[in-house]
Symmetry: C2
């Protein structure tokens, strides 16, 4: 059979959702074109580790071509999709047109600043390797700056690090940053009084990690307190000028470092599409993950919006994206065989967040853990999930080294 | 004794020369301030490996503060020196003034384009992590671009990589790039005809690695030929517009990639100093490495200019810088004890260059090697010289992995 006569599946986005769809179709008689604006897949759950100099960018990223070397029905193309025509079934890429029989739109999310332009301008975010490395460079520079700042008040402001958003990313970043200061920076800056350093975690609601059960929320608060993280609940930002945060209660915090982890919305490409959208620009889809009126097009992962059985929107997290990818691969095979599609059902595999060395909170199979056991589970589960055997070995070696020597991966300030 | 009464030694530059000086003074009763514009020391001999995705930036760089954690008489300051007053003995840094008793100027070199502005603008260089990562991103992007270029002529031009300069860096880069294409890119781009890819090495003189004895020059040419590197001797550039090189003989080469390794000159800071300079802006020094008229100031490494016993200038290489650093530390101790200084004598430790997997040329203790044995010597000598035990282990693991699996470190295209 001529390969060009095989059904053509175009997958846009090599994040968790796109990757799983492509893998699910590895034995199918189809042609797959996988498109991404980067040449690599990113293991986003560990991105905050790049920001605190705990891991290197390459340890949580893997070139897409390497991942799919053995999948002969797949071609990768790097580039930015400049348009999609759902009626005539083609996408525009790198100046040419790619026709498809089935489309999988898995373009992911980006940081949602909810209109806080001041923070978008002067704050930091953790969305891709670029923003994570920028955050790392800034954090490390603050210690250098503090080391030659004679004014005690100014030094204190330089060493005040504010993380906004009490979700898993905010909690993990705060815990890891507090540890970096206590265990590593203390050794690198023996003349600097790191008692001046403060890590603050601001959360607008009354709870940290609101999706967790109450006992884990309490354990999280306790563990963060033990690491000297200053947690402020019910605390809303009003403004930020790069030097000072104004809070809604009228008080303010002097700081040059605001790391925003408080929201995600659909990525730019969704903006230009004339489809029905929900909050955060996310594309509304059918319970089968299909785009309404376009059964051959699937929208999955962070860019899509779907309510679960209880009527609440599916969260924008990697486990949802992975399960939707698996489901989409199966659905495309069913469509090709003219079988009816099933509804997507999200199976919550549990939650897991680390709070620095030796401490994590976890909920797996309905059981809550916290402390050291949760941390060990976290370490091995994340190493298992990282793509690439080589990366797994190196990350394991790194973490073992850090654990034994109270060290961190090389703290490099690179130019931008 | 009050620490502030101890003699104050200011060392500018944490390259090989500055690092060795600081280390040589580790037991001295002095205060040392080490200054660098980066927070890390860079192992420059392996910088080309970053450009060909063979090593990661962090594997050849180490934070200066980490290196000197145990040396209590040393303080590190990150920043750009904005001026030096040799008469009043102070340097300007980060808006304040630092007075010194002894000064060591070890500010290193930068790429010398010899006035070829066109290449400075559109070409690539290997001078620091930033330029090496830029080169890597560009090289990897060329393969992506080639993969969706339908025009055969254009594709050939995209896959033509030109390295200018037949010194050790040029030879090593050409060999490593040829291997990357043959062993790694072939697997990542199965649909791309990599027979179209060309690595060219242009050298203006009649010889590659002119400092080596004749048998090694022949071995180098043979090894490069075996790796399919197109070596062009007696070949001079005339112009380059980012798309096409014009050669002095009237012919031209279509390419988007020119990596310039053909020259080094003293770094910017030397430009502003009113001292006697030789070619390439290098500062002329006494045979004791002192600055004329300023016996308390030493200038060493790539930024200095000194003739050897045979009347030829000392080369701008790491072994000279290291030996000058050792010598300077001793000389400062002698000056403090009012003893006479000795002249600096460079002891050539031999030469060593690798030409891809399994192949290198070496001259050690007057004996010439080439091929596999030279390559094994090269691997272990370089691993030994890299700073940091952790980095040594990881680099050894990486190279062993690459050797067994014909793979390379993660080929990540990062944003700039």
């Amino acid at each position: 059979m001529n390969a060009n006569l095989l059904p053509h599946i175009v997958i846009i986005g090599a994040g968790f959702a796109g990757l799983e769809t492509a893998r699910g179709l590895s034995n199918a008689h189809v042609r797959i074109t996988l498109i991404d604006k980067n040449n690599h897949h990113l293991f986003q759950p560990l991105l905050y580790q790049v920001a605190i100099a705990g891991l290197l960018p390459s340890q949580i990223a893997q070139p897409v071509r390497t991942i799919f070397r053995k999948q002969k029905n797949l071609t990768f193309q790097m580039g930015e999709v400049s348009g999609i025509n759902f009626d005539e079934k083609y996408v525009k890429l790198n100046g040419s047109v790619i026709a498809y029989d089935y489309l999988v739109l898995a373009v992911g999310g980006r940081t949602n600043f909810f209109g806080f332009d001041a923070i978008e301008k002067s704050g930091f975010q953790l969305k891709d390797l670029d923003t994570a490395v920028k955050t790392r460079n800034h954090l490390l520079s603050m210690f250098e700056q503090a080391s030659h700042e004679a004014d005690a008040e100014k030094r204190k402001a330089i060493l005040t690090f504010v993380i906004v958003g009490g979700g898993p990313t905010g909690v993990e970043t705060a815990g890891a940053l507090a540890e970096l200061i206590t265990h590593v920076m203390k050794k690198d800056y023996p003349r600097l009084n790191l008692g001046d350093a403060r890590v603050m975690l601001l959360e607008a609601s009354a709870n940290l990690i609101s999706a967790y059960p109450d006992e884990l929320r309490k354990a999280t608060a306790k563990l963060l307190k033990k690491k000297n993280v200053d947690v402020r609940l019910n605390t809303k930002l009003e403004d930020y000028n790069g030097q000072r945060i104004h809070l809604a209660d009228g008080s303010h915090i002097e700081t040059q470092t605001v790391i925003w982890t408080a929201g995600v919305k659909a990525t730019e490409i969704a903006d230009g599409l004339s489809v029905d959208k929900a909050s955060g620009g996310r594309i509304r889809i059918e319970p089968t993950l299909q785009l309404p009126q376009h059964p051959e097009a699937f929208v999955i992962g962070d860019a899509s919006f779907l309510l679960d059985e209880n009527g609440s929107p599916l969260p924008m997290i990697s486990t949802v994206a992975i399960q939707q990818g698996v489901c989409t691969a199966k659905s495309i095979l069913k469509l090709m065989n003219e079988k009816p599609l099933e509804y997507f059902h999200y199976k919550d595999p549990g939650l897991l967040a680390t709070i620095g060395r030796n401490a994590a909170v976890a909920r797996i199979f309905g059981i809550s853990f916290s402390g050291f056991i949760a941390w060990v589970i976290w370490v091995f589960l994340h190493i298992y999930r990282i793509i690439g055997f080589r990366n797994r070995i190196i990350v394991l070696f790194n973490w073992a080294w850090d654990y034994v020597f109270y060290d961190n991966q090389v703290r490099l300030i690179t130019k931008e």
